[in-house]
Symmetry: C2
Subunit: 350 residues, 2 copies
């Protein structure tokens, strides 16, 4: 294994100078820098991460704290964070946090203490747990929250524009001629879900359509509530011609209910979801939905943590980026059966 000394010897400089070159510090003559860089390349030298962290103030390690690391959501976050870490020559350590276990805080402490993490990314839903964010604050660990409902001070956040996405999707439905649209809400404590409803209402208001509040039902993001609330909406005397669910699982539930009742989708009923979960693609017909920039949010979180070493401004807008969403038009939405006067509408936006 080659070390910094080998490089130093071969380049005819001191180890410290090699260290300077590696870390891009100033005050190294360009010739010397070039020569060291050449030797580094020749020997294919890689600094030992442990020595680095032991000696220096950085560990080059970022923790990703996740409730359920086996979920698709978690996988996307991991992927995005890991790739960005690699680009910035950091490494990602994924740590599961099971808040239902009594000793969860001890386990978190242990992980942070043993690894000297430079920062932590906290995924939903545990990013909304005050005890956890307090713990990180106590440990002096910079954190970035992914799509949190509440924003504690002195932590970074990454978000997507839930309101805008829901507005756009609703406008898509309205453009297809739908006027009676049902909305399946998420749980009340979930801020993002509230923003989605807000977007829905905005789009309806802009189009001058009165919202019938009895068409807005509250669910809990689980598939089975989609089944139940779908039943509710579709058994009405005047059922909606389109249903917008605040996540894909519930949309799937609505879809299954429609199939059971023999309602053809999208011919008699348009359905759209939110999340672009894997199951939205596996369903038939495939679900029109909103892609959350999960990987991008995680990558942005890494950026914030890495650069936070430099700047120490907690409320800097750079520490709270809003990432672009994308509407995914698939096969579960189509033109409304022509009850109201409707023109044909082109649906290939985004």
């Amino acid at each position: 294994m080659i070390t910094i000394k080998d490089v130093a010897a071969r380049a005819g400089v001191s180890p410290k100078t090699v260290s300077r070159v590696i870390n891009g510090e100033a005050y190294v003559r360009p010739e010397v820098r070039a020569s060291v860089e050449r030797v580094v390349a020749e020997l294919n030298y890689r600094p030992n991460a442990f020595a680095r962290s032991l000696s220096g103030s950085r560990s080059y390690l970022i923790g990703l704290f996740i409730d359920d690391p086996a979920s698709g959501y978690a996988a996307d976050l991991q992927h995005g964070a890991m790739m960005r870490c690699r680009d910035r020559s950091y490494h990602l350590v994924v740590e599961p946090v099971d808040l239902s276990q009594p000793d969860w805080d001890a386990r978190v402490r242990e992980g942070v203490a043993a690894l000297r993490l430079d920062g932590a990314i906290v995924a939903p839903p545990i990013c909304d747990e005050p005890a956890l964010t307090r713990l990180f604050e106590e440990l002096g660990l910079p954190i970035v929250l992914v799509a949190p409902s509440v924003v504690p001070p002195s932590s970074g956040t990454v978000h997507m524009d839930d309101l805008g996405a829901a507005r756009d999707m609703t406008e898509h439905l309205i453009g297809l001629g739908h006027r009676t649209i049902g909305f399946v809400q998420g749980p009340s404590h979930h801020r993002a879900s509230a923003r989605r409803e807000e977007g829905f209402r905005q789009a309806m208001a802009r189009a001058g359509i009165d919202v019938d509040d009895s068409l807005i039902l509250r669910g809990d993001f689980a598939l089975r509530t989609g089944l139940e609330l779908g039943e509710c909406l579709l058994s009405r005397a005047n059922p909606p011609t389109a249903i917008f669910a605040a996540n894909d699982d519930m949309a799937l539930g609505v879809l299954i209910t429609a199939m059971k009742r023999g309602i053809p989708v999208p011919d008699a009923l348009s359905i759209c979801g939110f999340d672009d979960a894997p199951s939205s693609r596996a369903a038939w017909p495939q679900l029109t939905t909103v892609r959350q920039p999960k990987a991008e949010m995680a990558a942005a979180a890494v950026d914030i943590l890495v650069s936070a070493r430099l700047r120490t401004s907690p409320a800097d807008p750079d520490a709270h980026p809003l990432l672009p969403y994308q509407l995914i038009f698939r096969d579960s939405t189509g033109a409304a059966a022509c009850t109201p006067p409707c023109r044909h509408h082109d649906a290939d936006a985004a």
Copy 2:
């Protein structure tokens, strides 16, 4: 941050003795051991992983090398590996390997060199890449392959019994009265998939049913081949009453084709898959399938790597465990429409 010196001072012993206690070495008087352990608990001391790895021979780090870290399969492996790592006070580092990039080997080298990994877990499909396993061998890094098609010498493996699972599932179908059963194979290079076909044939042979080779079609694990091959099978003059696909995505394709043709599932057609992918639960009806012990395989891999420090026997059977599968009976399989004489059969095994 408290260090080994703090503990040593408070316990009135040398740092080295504390080190001995932490690492469970022999030759420490029971009283001393107890006293040190008390102080460790009091101060809530955790050894610094970096110092440990820099000084000692272990890094307490295990790498999980994965092609597509965003897949559900990867997520399950990660979860299992991570939990077991935590129990054994190791940590898991996930490293993506993109074989399509020209410099993939340099990136792997870099990761291994910088982190001094104690071992690597290599997930499918890259565990079947000879260049990769050779690279690890060259680096002297112990590896465990997850469900590989070929087993290079001097590496551990973890497997599940694909043959037995497919046999059991086929027997389940036969027990439901099915006699004309279609089988959708995976790609030819995929050994596990071949074992699944073998299990299918064994069950059929045991039941004394002749296998019609034209009912066995080769796919490539993608959903769209499920659509196409389902079409193939269902448009026959004498279509099968049950179709067994070698993975869930293809089974889903078959399911969608059946829906399109208006064939009720499971009343007129039973379908089952393999993998217990998330989408198998999101489908309607939910798919009967085989649960692969993904998390358990990953956990077993960690065990092998951790204990391999102790024993150095490469071909030890303990280094090649076979993990138990589980049949998941859901709603896509049911009794065959009674063309052949059939008795009612109880389906609640496993």
